[in-house]
């Protein structure tokens, strides 16, 4: 009988990091900081910026690709945040509101770039990504090319120890259609819940799961190409 990993606890994979960086148990909440920002408190603004900007910049980069453009999106987003904060209605969490603004602005930018750049004929959403497993199954649905264990890289530690592991993942995410990249970044990299991601990206739960699955499949395939003993 195959060892381990069978009746896995479904939640165990995504459970360990339920606290995003925006919800540290110590210190003021995002909402408390936002209230102080409204009063012009620069220290509170700095704390909010330092708490979220890395993740926001990552997300912007996955969507617009160009680092300089992503930085502009980040600037625009924070500008929109402190200008729009007084009208923020607390129907959603501040964190998801921030990321919704980043996503929308980045997508608008990406669309504009796609129109002005003849090179990129694809819409920013891109074509549905090609199934990396298309040729791996027999017509009857069995494995034609069964997966083989990874060369000394079966554990996450081993994958990251080999420095190229991080680069492979970053490249694989950058190659994904933008919404897949956004979903997998927020869910698996940042440890957000499905609900938070749906709120921030304004997508349905089912759509979120489809995008997540495609993205994970592609990233696993990229690691497989690098680490498989085949």
């Amino acid at each position: 009988m195959p060892k381990d990993a069978r009746k896995g606890e479904p939640q165990a994979v995504s459970a360990p990091r339920t606290l995003g960086q925006g919800t540290t148990p110590e210190g003021p909440t995002d909402e408390e900081l936002a209230a102080r920002v409204l009063l012009g408190d620069e220290d509170a603004f700095t704390q909010l910026v330092d708490r979220h900007s890395r993740q926001m910049l990552w997300l912007a980069r996955t969507i617009v690709r160009e680092p300089a453009l992503a930085e502009e999106v980040l600037q625009e987003t924070w500008l929109a945040v402190f200008q729009g904060l007084k009208d923020f209605e607390h129907r959603s969490r501040l964190k998801t509101w921030l990321f919704r603004i980043v996503t929308n602005r980045a997508r608008t930018r990406a669309q504009r770039e796609a129109r002005s750049t003849p090179m990129s004929s694809l819409s920013p959403e891109g074509e549905p990504s090609r199934d990396p497993l298309a040729d791996h199954f027999t017509p009857r649905g069995g494995w034609a090319v069964p997966p083989t264990p990874w060369d000394g890289s079966d554990s996450p530690e081993a994958i990251l120890e080999r420095k190229e592991g991080v680069a492979i993942i970053a490249t694989a995410i950058a190659a994904l259609p933008p919404m897949q990249a956004a979903v997998v970044s927020l869910r698996d990299k940042e440890g957000w819940t499905a609900e938070e991601v749906c709120e921030a990206l304004e997508i349905s739960e089912g759509n979120q799961r489809v995008l997540l699955h495609r993205a994970r499949t592609a990233i696993r395939a990229a690691l497989d190409a690098a680490f498989s003993r085949r």
């Binding site: 195959p2 896995g8 402190f82 200008q83 083989t148 698996d188 690691l223």
Partner: protein, 78 residues
């Protein structure tokens, strides 16, 4: 019997706890007897765990400085 191809397509649903009880049983029965699918499931789990450990790059300090400057400008005007 669920095929390997079907099983792989359902892995995220399985990990998210979104399969019906019947599908979940079929999923687990298949995995119990299929080494290739166990290998794949483990790799998918490792991919997810590894993603959670990818470090962010810091915000370039000119970008951060400009943000704070814009905040000050806004405050002055407000």
């Amino acid at each position: 019997m669920m095929t390997c191809k079907e099983l792989v397509a359902l892995m995220t649903d399985y990990l998210e706890g979104k399969l019906s009880a019947a599908d979940r049983s079929r999923f687990e029965a298949h995995v119990d007897g299929c080494r290739a699918c166990v290998t794949y499931l483990n790799q998918l789990k490792h991919t997810i765990t590894t993603l959670g450990r990818v470090p962010d790059e810091p915000i370039p300090s000119p970008v951060r400085d400009e943000l704070l400057q814009r905040f000050r400008d806004w405050k002055k005007r407000a």
